[in-house]
């Protein structure tokens, strides 16, 4: 599996698919950062609220969209370039191919996301903000604020990768980038626009971005709720990957490749 992962990493880097990822993440984050900065009273802006706003602005729609686009492109590109038969015909098992592809995509996505968010933190820090912390957070230290920001970043990353795993599965089934994005974004919009019952919102991976930036903005962080949400996302992630593996094995038999 490690070998497949290395090959996939090389393919992603060589095909420059990561450029789209970094540019779009950077654009969404920086645009949100500057938009929030210039649309508020400079005397009221603080580092924590600025970063919070960046996540609040992007976590519902824009970040998941980037995740869907990136993860689905990893699969659909193979169909588009007609390289899928070569992949299937390689010495590696189908299971290793799918998991290797997913892990490589997740690594690239995580690195791009962390670099972009850390760059945004750095830019936000350089902006002429009035203070590091929000007035209600007067009891918190700078380290605490940065810790919260990192927790928001990491938990949002788990949520985005779980969304990516969903796009990964859909891309394998429909084999078309546009259709995959339509289905995944459609589902996202449906979830956002149509009110869902509580039992569903608690145990569904969609729309979990809001949970994280909200949870870590409380003076008393509801850690248990945040951990539970991360676990729900991981469970979905595993399920989608297993489904992808099962589907990919069947796909081989169906196509006779």
């Amino acid at each position: 599996m490690i070998e497949v992962m290395k090959i996939e990493l090389y393919k992603i880097i060589k095909s420059k698919q990561y450029i789209f990822l970094v540019v779009s993440l950077f654009l969404f984050i920086i645009v949100a950062l500057l938009f929030m900065f210039y649309n508020r009273d400079p005397n009221e802006i603080n580092l924590f609220s600025l970063i919070y706003q960046v996540f609040a602005f992007n976590s519902d729609i824009f970040f998941p969209t980037v995740s869907i686009a990136f993860f689905s492109s990893i699969i659909t590109k193979e169909f588009q370039d007609k390289t899928i038969k070569m992949v299937i015909g390689s010495v590696y098992t189908r299971q290793n191919i799918i998991i290797g592809k997913f892990l490589a995509s997740s690594i690239v996505f995580s690195v791009a996301f962390l670099i972009t968010v850390l760059t945004a933190f750095f830019i936000a820090y350089l902006l002429p903000i009035s203070s590091i912390i929000y007035i209600d957070y007067e009891q918190l230290g700078t380290l605490n604020v940065f810790g919260r920001m990192m927790l928001i970043t990491l938990s949002t990353l788990v949520f985005l990768i779980s969304f990516g795993s969903f796009a990964f599965l859909v891309a394998l089934i429909v084999r078309n980038q546009g259709l995959t994005m339509l289905i995944a974004i459609g589902l996202l919009m449906f979830y956002i626009l149509i009110p869902s019952p509580d039992w569903l919102t608690d145990y569904i991976f969609i729309g979990k971005g809001v949970m994280f930036y909200t949870a870590f903005s409380f003076l008393e962080i509801p850690y248990l709720e945040a951990i539970k949400t991360v676990l729900v996302c991981i469970l979905y992630l595993l399920t989608f990957i297993i489904c992808s593996t099962i589907f990919f094995n069947r796909f081989e038999l169906k196509d006779g490749s």
Partner: protein, 246 residues
């Protein structure tokens, strides 16, 4: 899928599901959005229990006072701060929080006296700025002097928000001129529009002072409208831009 992979997946899934179930059992049915408020209530309960056996713990008293303050139980908050002051008469934070609570109770005279004590104990920029916001009610002539000290101290200690201190100083300079020329209402309107974050009750007091002086009909209508907006504003601390923007 190999048997090993299937087994691994099942084991990991069981661990995750067990984790989710355990968390559900621990936290009950609280929603994430309710937990902020509920955690304050539960912290109050915990601190109250703790203080029954550790009545003389100043940190716990101070913490409980703040929790009462956030829960709008101002009388209880004051009693806790007074307890801290009894235990540690030089605890500047306790005095500072006591003043904040008096302001929200509209007991400005007491708040003013307490703010003077805070300045004695902790002569920093914020203490002077806070004092000057009450000076304008009781000793307008010293407000500008205290705002100047606040600005100097902020510059000296290289505070991040020097502009904030400067903005308040400039507003008080204007206020001072207007007071001297007998334009009392315009002076208070200058302070209200200075965009400094102030307690809701203090802003209402400024508006009251402006209305009590001679104002023309147009300004009176504007101030009355502003007063209505402040009353309907939920937060305890706000500034003019909060009101003008919505």
């Amino acid at each position: 899928m190999t048997k090993k992979s299937t087994l691994t997946f099942i084991v990991i899934s069981i661990i995750i599901i067990s984790g989710i179930i355990t968390i559900n059992l621990f936290q009950g049915k609280d929603k994430i959005y309710q937990q902020g408020a509920r955690s304050n209530e539960s912290q109050i309960e915990k601190l109250e229990i703790y203080l029954k056996e550790n009545e003389e713990d100043p940190t716990a008293n101070l913490n409980l006072g703040l929790r009462y303050y956030h829960d709008q139980q101002y009388k209880k908050a004051i009693s806790k701060y007074k307890k801290v002051i009894e235990l540690e008469p030089d605890n500047a934070l306790a005095w500072h929080r006591l003043a904040n609570t008096h302001v929200l109770q509209e007991d400005f005279q007491k708040a003013f006296n307490v703010r003077q004590k805070v300045v004695e104990l902790e002569a920093d920029a914020t203490s002077y700025l806070n004092l000057s916001t009450l000076d304008v009610l009781f000793e307008p002539s010293t407000a500008l002097k205290h705002a100047k000290i606040a600005l100097d101290l902020a510059e000296k200690s290289k505070e991040d928000n020097i502009d904030y201190f400067k903005m308040w100083h400039d507003a008080l300079q204007q206020f001072d001129k207007q007071q001297k020329s007998g334009d009392i209402s315009e002076g208070f309107i200058t302070l209200i529009k200075s965009e400094i974050s102030l307690e809701k009750t203090l802003l209402l007091e400024y508006i009251g002072r402006a209305l009590n002086a001679d104002v023309n009909k147009e300004t009176e209508n504007e101030l009355v409208e502003l007063r209505g907006k402040i009353h309907s504003y939920q937060s305890n601390i706000l500034d003019y831009s909060d009101l003008s923007s919505g």
